[in-house]
Amino acid sequence: MDLSKYAALFLAESREHLNACNGSLVEWERAPASVEPVDRLFRAIHTIKGMAATMGYTGVAQLAHSAENLLDALRHGRVTATPSVFQLLFRAVDTLGGAVEGAAAGSEAEADGGLIAELDAAAIGPAPGAAEVPAGAEPRAVAPGPSEPRSRRASDAPRSRPVQVTIRPGAVMRGARAALVLRRAEGLGVVSGLRPPAAQLEGDEFDGRFFFRLQTKLPDGEIAVALGSVGEVEAVLVEEAAAEADGEGRGRQIRVDLRRLDALMKHVGELVVAKNRLTALSGEGGDPTLIELSERIARLVSAMQTEVLAARMTPVGEVFDRFPRLARDLSRDLGKRIRFDMEGEEIELDRSILDEIGEPLLHLIRNAADHGIEPPEQRISAGKSAEGRILLSATRERNTVALRVVDDGRGIDRERILAKARHEGAAGGDVDTLTDDLLVRVLARPGFSTAKSVSGVSGRGVGVDVAMTRVRALGGTLEVRSELGRGSTFLIRVPLTLAIVRALLAEAGGERYAVPLAYVAETVEFDRRAVTSIRDREALVVRDQVIPTVHLRDLVSATSEAKSGRQPTVILEVGERRTALVVDALLGQQDIVVEPFDAPRGMPPFVGGATILADGKPALILDAAALL
């Protein structure tokens, strides 16, 4: 059998597992008593071993086998997890990563005999004295002796296992039912990893199925009976059955080449444009049969669009996975103590955005570790805990996803940044304080760095500006909040999906513009009498809030005479910032397909892309963030 065509699949899957391994290792190292990470680790390594053996990559398989043996010993308490064991496992995962890449590229190296011997020795325990264990030491000579029987035997220890519960369709208040089930489950053991998250359950935003892990001594059958006795529960699956039904795999899965999905997405995009035109034309013609047909096509296209978009949605956890290891290595390299936490890994983003978001996050996390978190002694003298904290979180906010990198470090010294910005000419002499808005703009200037020296981690000044450029290219925004001595928060906001967005069409100076709905808070009427001014800028008072105005007509330098009286106005909102965009007319909403856009020279910065409207004519897409 020709196995070469499976090499790509082997590589892709192994990488995923290795990434997960790093995450599990970090989690386990932090809480050595927890059972779950070691189980996950064991399963991942086991899977890699199986795949490698099938592919005939014996070196990879041997190494995986030895790592698996050690993990099994750890899992059953035959060996204790000491720092040197963790170090060994990290090395094993790294080496395995290299071996996997090499093997898939067709140049499999000999298995690392020394490492394998170390793993084997460690598996027999007691824990080796780190590097002193001679690779060739006779493992059998180490007596399994008295340390072997441990008080905590695996069989009567509480086991963590996946549970899936289905609420009967048609039941009222399914969210409250779920709460009853969870409360019952909490009576049986420890509940973790609830999906969808509690807030979504309480809002009834789920299809009646939810998942969690339950750590308990009870056998599976008893769990099923106990949870099944809650009213309106249709089914309870425990262990393998739940794992199978779990996650994206509510049903069976196949792997699809991403390029296929991209192509499909492109066709659907074109179909949407064609559909919009058809709808417009059939409306003009007034033929009832044609109208009916076009409405039917519109529904079908919209259903198809939803499906394709859903197929492309991927949990951000796939990108987050690599960061715990990064944070651990950073804290080691920088001699700092850093606790790294993640939240919202289950939040989904379009695959194409997800692929682009990793690098900006990487820069921001590096910055947080290097510039944000202080060395332990400094933290203690500042009255903080010696261990700094970095939190990476994802939350869904309207049609965008907010990704935050929060640190509790020293915060940004505005005085110093301002001085440096003045020195470099990035800020005029009239600026005497740096607001958060101004701060991020200064930080994002290419090459701007405040680090006194380049540390190898960051300080080359390519952190924030790279992040900013990438994020803006995705139609997203980057914000910063920082408090001296308390820490900083960098907030990246990106749209859920790139390809097709719902937009509000506006007219100004005879041209049409599309404003993505994700950034539209509301529409109001511009009334000269409601105008005031803040800092020499015209502003509109909307329900006691003063919002600076921008006249689209002035921006696009239309020469036709300005309209008098009331004008439609779009309130744009990005984060907490708002701008009132005054236009000549609003033309309704439409799904627009964002065309890739290499801005021609002289294109104003507030144009984020272009699209073809329903009548077949092009329109420019406004970049809300650039208008604020």
């Binding site: 009222v172 208040m173 409250a176 009853l180 809002g203 006795s229 809650v230």
Partner: protein
């Protein structure tokens, strides 16, 4: 001996209806309360096997009453009676210790099913 019930609701209409459903099924309605405060007092006095509890009541709401009752008797068997659209409150009541809930408008069979589950 029949199992005893305390019916808590600020509307006489609802109290009557629930009492009828439960009496016909062989329960003994030993008391009624029209506020959360009354519910807590009567629970202490009557020690009923089951409580039906409206969520929105004057003088201490149903959720607060559940919390009070469960503080003294964690085994209290309380069935929440909720209107449509009060899911967040129902969840709060469950977290406070309520054992199940029914949603108005009531179907007698649904109420009795829930009661059986709570008493099981």
């Amino acid at each position: 001996m029949n199992q005893t019930v305390l019916v808590c609701d600020d509307a006489i209409f609802m109290r009557t209806m629930i009492s009828d459903i439960l009496s016909q099924a062989g329960f003994e309605v030993v008391g009624e309360a029209e506020s959360g405060l009354q519910a807590v007092e009567k629970y202490r006095m009557l020690k009923p096997d089951l409580v039906t509890m409206d969520i929105v009541m004057p003088d201490m709401g149903g959720i607060e009453a559940v919390r009070e009752i469960c503080k003294n008797d964690p085994e209290a068997k309380i069935l929440m009676c909720s209107a449509m659209g009060q899911q967040a409150l129902v969840v709060e009541a469950i977290q406070a210790g309520a054992k199940d809930f029914v949603v108005k408008p009531f179907q007698p069979s649904r109420v009795l099913e829930a009661v059986q589950r709570v008493l099981a």
